[in-house]
């Protein structure tokens, strides 16, 4: 399974599915990370975690642990 945690800075992909704990999934989706949405990774923090994303026209930060529950398209 390819996840958002595998996405390199400067690339983007489409969200296919969200896995993991119900509560966490709900919180992530409320922020606009829903199935079918295109997400791009802007950069990693200097320590490698968390990750800065761009979705629905705004920037947000998400931890690798959460990103690895977000399945993305192959392209």
């Amino acid at each position: 399974m390819r996840t958002l945690a595998d996405l390199k800075p400067g690339t983007s992909a489409e969200i296919v599915d969200l896995h993991g704990d119900d509560l966490a999934v709900q919180r992530i989706m409320e922020m606009g990370l829903t199935e079918g949405e295109r997400v791009s990774v802007l950069r990693y923090a200097p320590t490698g975690d968390p990750i800065e994303l761009r979705v629905r026209g705004y920037n947000l930060s998400i931890r690798r642990a959460d990103a690895s529950n977000i399945e993305i398209s192959k392209d």
Binding site: G32, P46, G57, L60
Partner: protein, 771 residues
């Protein structure tokens, strides 16, 4: 008597809600003219902020609800917005209208909350804020079309430039009471009909209408394990539980998975609603924010700038507040003297000067640190850097179960725990926030430094270790800071695994665009926080100070005690007086003022000799007064408590006098230095650099002649002070921030317990290593 109030005096209430970083506070300030009533909602830690609309003569009241991304709620704290909007709170009347603030550059995500609010059943006005920034980013919004699509009034504005504010005020004053609730529906028929069915079943199951109104039933269905569901089950029992499970299953069979339904439906609806309303540039243009981010969260530059910024903040609260604090200290000292002169010497004078004025001074003294820290926090938050700081520090703090949001409060703790605890408001997650509040007082604050300096200077040899690289004294000082950090890490780990176990350790945070700070708002926030501290914590601190003052002031020295000290010091005074008398009796000594002036011109040494003899009398008298002060405090209730705790503190290597010093330091740890000064007869006017006090401590002896203090005792005292909760102001502010007495009591108990154990271990190990 009339039964109903006349319609003209009925207040019109408007609630203000919006995502964080949308300028909601700016709008609230502009509408109320910076005049707000701040308090707490009962039973939760959420700030309650209300204000009258400027120019409405108090007829329109604004309620500022906490900034949030969603109405979904898993705790009472998160439920506040829903409770206020549905009229479930007894301490807040239900609003007549909701103002939803949305960021024009970020409409999709902002409308998520707006569509939730539309379902509450109240009239809604959407405030489309920061349209200037959106335009600058190439985003065009057709406001008229948007109004039709959402089905509510939409007012575009730029709150930071006061554009559009008048229109909002006008709307609230004149026509808002004629607005109707919107009938926009984002959910498919399967869901709405299921929700209606559940509503009926719940009423049948005996759930009161106020907990099972249509909006709350929807929230219950959408949020498995949420507050709305918990309350319905609490009211309706197993029947309600079964009905919810049944309907959820039906929905799932129809392809509506509760977990993903809400986000999918709302964002789907929003995408359609905004089609043809919002024009965005095809390719995302690298904005000013993106370019700034490339530097500010760059691997090398970003980290370097962060470290410099933190050093600046720390330096300013730690060092720059010093002169201001001295000024306050001196001011209250002078005030005490001036007021003291108005009263005759006695208990009333002592209570007012040493109890009340000194107590109030002990509160105000913290203001410089609070104001400086909150100036920086308000500034960093306002311009958007705060989220970046959390982004940079998140990994480090995630190791102890916290998030990057805890970094600045923790760092501030090294200067002072009070602003640190107040700074935790920026932590959104309740579990993280409470954990940070409870461990921040373990950071070695500036009030601990005098204690370290006194004991390190007096008892740690000035050797160097590691081949001359570091002085032993510096190493000991550093390890005191380290003790606090290590214990804080341990306590945080334990708390996050017990009381404040997060259901999900996830951390999602918006990185808002950078903006130029609004200075007026920054200074307003800083001032608000300072005043809040004075009002909320002040009374408790003054009360505690007065109690400890009374314990040291009473009982007054008995005539017998006074006579004994007088007798002890009489020979020295008599001797000094005799010396002066002998000098005066000499033939050469001038008898008149003219002769004295003549003598001082011809032979100044002669006169100096006489003056020195006079000083000798004063010194002998002052020695006696200091001794009496010391004898009195040793005999006071506090001194008796010192004797009482002696068996408890003996394993730490302490005698009863150290025990009483430690007890006296519970309101504010820094008083230990002056208290030791009084106890050891050097007078209370000493500081940690005082050579006199150091000598007195070194020379202190038990009755068998062995020294009271040695290196092991000094280390044990320092470790105790490093970990103990000796600060009434911190406990008072924890009470205020957690809105409960449970947590300050818990903090006091665990810190004092740990301090005792750690001091015990330190002493028992050190004494064996040294001998």
């Amino acid at each position: 008597m009339s039964t109903a109030a006349p319609a003209a005096t009925k207040k019109f209430r408007a609630a203000l809600i919006g995502n964080p970083n949308t300028g909601k506070t700016t709008i609230f300030n502009a509408l109320t003219g910076f005049k707000a009533r701040v308090g707490n909602y009962a039973g939760v830690t959420v700030e309650r902020k209300t204000g009258a609309l400027k120019g409405s003569n108090g007829k329109v009241e604004l309620i500022d609800l906490p900034g949030t991304y969603s109405l979904s709620a898993r705790s009472e704290d998160e439920m506040i917005a829903v409770d206020v909007l549905t009229g479930l709170r007894s301490d807040q009347d239900r609003p007549d209208l909701v103002l939803v603030v949305v960021d024009a550059s970020n409409l999709e995500r902002n409308l998520f909350l707006a569509t939730q609010v539309l379902e509450v059943g109240l009239p809604v006005i959407v405030l489309l804020n920061m349209v200037d920034a959106a335009e600058a980013g190439g985003i065009e919004i057709d406001v008229e079309k948007l109004t039709h699509r959402i089905g509510t009034k939409v007012i575009p504005l730029v709150a930071s430039k006061n554009t559009g504010i008048d229109e909002v005020a006008e709307e609230l004053n004149d026509s808002a009471d004629r607005l109707m609730p919107s009938h926009t529906e984002v959910f498919p028929y399967e869901f709405t009909s299921a929700a209606e069915k559940l509503h009926e079943q719940l009423i049948e199951a005996g759930v009161p209408e106020r907990y099972a109104e249509p909006f709350l039933v929807r929230r219950c269905l959408l949020e498995a394990g949420g507050m709305a569901e918990a309350r319905i089950i609490r009211e309706g029992g197993n029947n309600a539980k079964a009905a919810i499970a049944e309907i959820r299953k039906e929905l799932a069979d129809n392809g509506c998975r509760a977990m993903t339904l809400e986000a999918r439906c709302r964002y789907g609806w929003i995408r359609e609603a905004l089609d043809g309303v919002v024009q965005r540039p095809e390719e995302h243009r690298a904005s000013f924010s993106d370019k700034l981010d490339a530097i500010l969260i760059h691997k090398v530059w970003g980290s370097a700038i962060f470290v410099l910024l933190m050093l600046l903040i720390f330096q300013s609260i730690y060092t720059w507040s010093g002169p201001l604090m001295d000024l306050i200290d001196g001011g209250f000292g002078a005030l005490g003297e001036a007021v003291g002169a108005l009263f005759a010497e006695g208990p009333l004078q002592a209570l007012i000067v040493d109890g009340l004025i000194a107590g109030v001074g002990g509160v105000v003294i913290f203001l410089p640190q609070i104001l400086i820290l909150f100036f920086f926090i308000a500034l960093l938050e306002d311009c958007g850097y705060m989220a970046r700081a959390a982004f940079l520090m998140d990994k480090l703090l995630s190791k102890v179960g916290l998030s990057g949001r805890s970094f600045i409060p923790m760092l501030s703790g090294f200067a002072c725990a009070i602003p640190a605890v107040m700074a935790t408001r920026t932590i959104e997650d309740r579990n993280d926030r409470f954990t940070t509040i409870l461990v921040a007082p373990l950071m070695s604050c500036s009030a601990r430094l005098p204690v370290y300096v006194l004991f390190v200077g007096a008892f740690v040899p000035a050797n160097s270790i590691l081949g001359g690289l570091i002085g032993l004294q510096a190493a000991v000082l550093f390890s005191m800071y380290l003790v606090g950090v290590v214990v804080a890490i341990g306590v945080a780990l334990v708390l996050k695994k017990t009381f404040f176990k997060s259901k999900t350790p996830s951390f999602i945070m918006e990185l808002p665009p950078y903006r130029a700070p609004q200075w007026k708002a920054v200074f307003h926030r800083m001032w608000e926080r300072g005043m809040e501290f004075l009002k909320r914590a002040g009374t408790i601190i003054v009360a505690v100070s007065a109690i400890v003052w009374a314990l040291t002031y009473y009982p007054r020295p008995s005539d017998e005690l006074t006579a004994r000290v007088d007798a002890q010091h009489a020979p020295q005074i008599v001797e000094a007086e005799a010396a002066l008398a002998a000098w005066l009796m000499r033939e050469e000594t001038p008898a008149t003022t003219e002769e004295l002036i003549e003598l001082s011109e011809s032979s100044p040494e002669e006169v100096a000799e006489g003056a020195a003899l006079l000083d000798g009398i004063y010194a002998a008298e002052s020695d006696r007064d200091t001794a009496l002060q010391g004898a009195q405090i040793r005999d006071s209730f506090l001194g008796r408590m010192g004797h009482f705790v002696e068996p408890i503190v003996a394993p730490l290597g302490w005698d009863w006098r150290i025990g009483m010093g430690a007890i006296a330091s519970f309101p504010a740890r820094e008083v230990i230095v002056s208290t030791l000064g009084i106890i050891y007869d050097t007078g209370g006017d000493v500081d940690e650099e005082s050579v006199d006090l150091r000598e007195k401590l070194k020379n202190a002896r038990y009755e068998d002649g062995s020294p009271v203090f040695n290196l092991a005792v000094a280390l044990s005292i320092m470790v105790f002070f490093a970990l103990c909760a000796q600060c009434a102001a911190t406990l008072a502010i924890i009470k205020r921030e957690t809105n409960s007495w449970r947590w300050p009591i818990f903090t006091f108990a665990y810190m004092t317990g740990l301090a005792y154990i750690a001091a015990l271990i330190t002493y028992q190990i050190a004494i064996r290593l040294i001998t």
